[in-house]
Homo-oligomer: 229 residues x 2
DNA sequence: GCAACGTTTCGATCACGATCGAAATGTTCA
DNA sequence: TGAACATTTCGATCGTGATCGAAACGTTGC
């Protein structure tokens, strides 16, 4: 009798600690961080952070990699990021009463990475713009790049033709917890984010997963993609 | 500063209690249950269950409906079920070491409902069989019914043509936590499950969300769908 | 209105896990 | 080899939340 529900509870307990949630949230951009850095993020001493990190690794939410005297922690799999993102969506869809009008970090809400693609106002606006030009079909649960869309993104040097070489799905929606609407994920979403970083349209902020839109970026998103932000 | 990570932690804390996890798990078939019944499921006294149920409703994971002197609880939205299912997948994908060879309820593993569609060996086998006949394309993240598939399911009286009338997506994969492979969800999955109930191929077990495959059902799944179970 | 029943509220107890100081471990570099 | 640094282990403390008994509440049916 004690079975899947128990596993569910154990997993949830792992995420339920505020410090660990901060750590997981911090790692959701897919990059690795040192134990010390994560202690700062969680707002606890290194000993305590170590205890938390140990539990997260033990339960396979994180994986660790030794780099010299320091240890780098990152999410174990993309699936973990995906589930956490989903949980955030549910969390934000909570009780309208007890929720003071969404006092969520303005920077995060504006633009952030969601594992390897773009989210927030920018992410959703990009998806909207692509949809408006019939480059993309995207609803809450499925997504598809049109031929014109593949060609359009191809003009930026992105090869997004369907291919058996790639295990990853080309195009899928990812429900944005701050905008409550889907943005673009999958190989296409990741490629688009990478392009934006390479062309310096966006820059990672030193900490957190929010990103800064450069002036050139704002211009590019508007003129090249027709984004309204 | 108190933000999305905090919301995530709060949501997780809600699921982290073994009793509440049992309650949520029990409600994942989408049906409603009385407070008393759920107290039995959780293995706690009615007072304690009431306290748990109150928290779950307050945080909008459950909704409650008064039916005479008793109160019926059910999941607030399909999204909640979807996220819980996702969490179960991550939970089961945990540490191979500490995990005694998946001692999960045999009945659940065999066949169960996943909110409104079929999961477990039966669910995955059905998806496999449909795929084998080129009725269905389904990977971990996207799914599509072929024309032949639409026609095939149409021969059972299921109208699964794409339609703007329906808000729900026709066909999507749902990662099966016991089989670790996708089964069929969305409108098509729900319709198929409903068909199976109507024709008495499967029956709900009095408690829990596992279902019993009738002799006629086993025969039908094999001969009509080419399912190998 | 009263009795029966399901459910919730209140109050007190108890256990588990988060926390940090102190100290040990392990790695790099000189 | 030894010093410097990041990280982990150990041990003790402390706070929060789950629990249940007792009692109140609210609905139904007579």
């Amino acid at each position: 009798m004690p079975t899947i529900a128990r596993e569910l509870a154990d997993l949830a307990a792992l995420i339920a600690d505020p410090g660990r949630a901060l750590i997981l949230s911090r790692l959701m951009d897919g990059r690795a961080q040192t134990a010390g850095e994560l202690a700062l993020v969680a707002g606890v001493t290194p000993q305590t952070a170590s205890w938390h990190l140990g539990r997260l690794v033990q339960h396979a939410l994180l994986k660790v990699e030794r780099r010299g005297p320091r240890r780098l922690y990152r999410l174990a799999t993309p699936l973990v990021a995906q589930i956490l993102e989903g949980m955030m969506t549910v969390a934000v869809t909570g009780p309208p009463s007890s929720r003071p009008p969404a006092r969520i970090d303005a920077a995060m809400r504006r633009a952030r990475t969601c594992y390897d693609h773009l989210a927030g106002e920018l992410g959703v606006a990009l998806a909207d713009a692509l949809r408006e030009r019939d480059y993309l079909v995207l609803d809450q649960e499925v997504g598809e790049l049109t031929e014109a869309g593949t060609a359009f993104l191809g003009s930026f040097g992105l090869d997004l033709h369907p291919s058996a070489r790639h295990r990853r799905v080309l195009c899928r929606p990812c429900l944005d917890w701050s905008e409550r609407r889907p943005h673009l994920a999958g190989r296409a979403g990741a490629a688009l984010a990478e392009l934006a970083f390479q062309r310096d349209w966006i820059r990672r902020r030193p900490q957190g997963r929010s990103v800064e839109i450069t002036d050139a970026g704002l211009d590019a998103f508007r003129s090249l993609f027709g984004v309204r932000i």
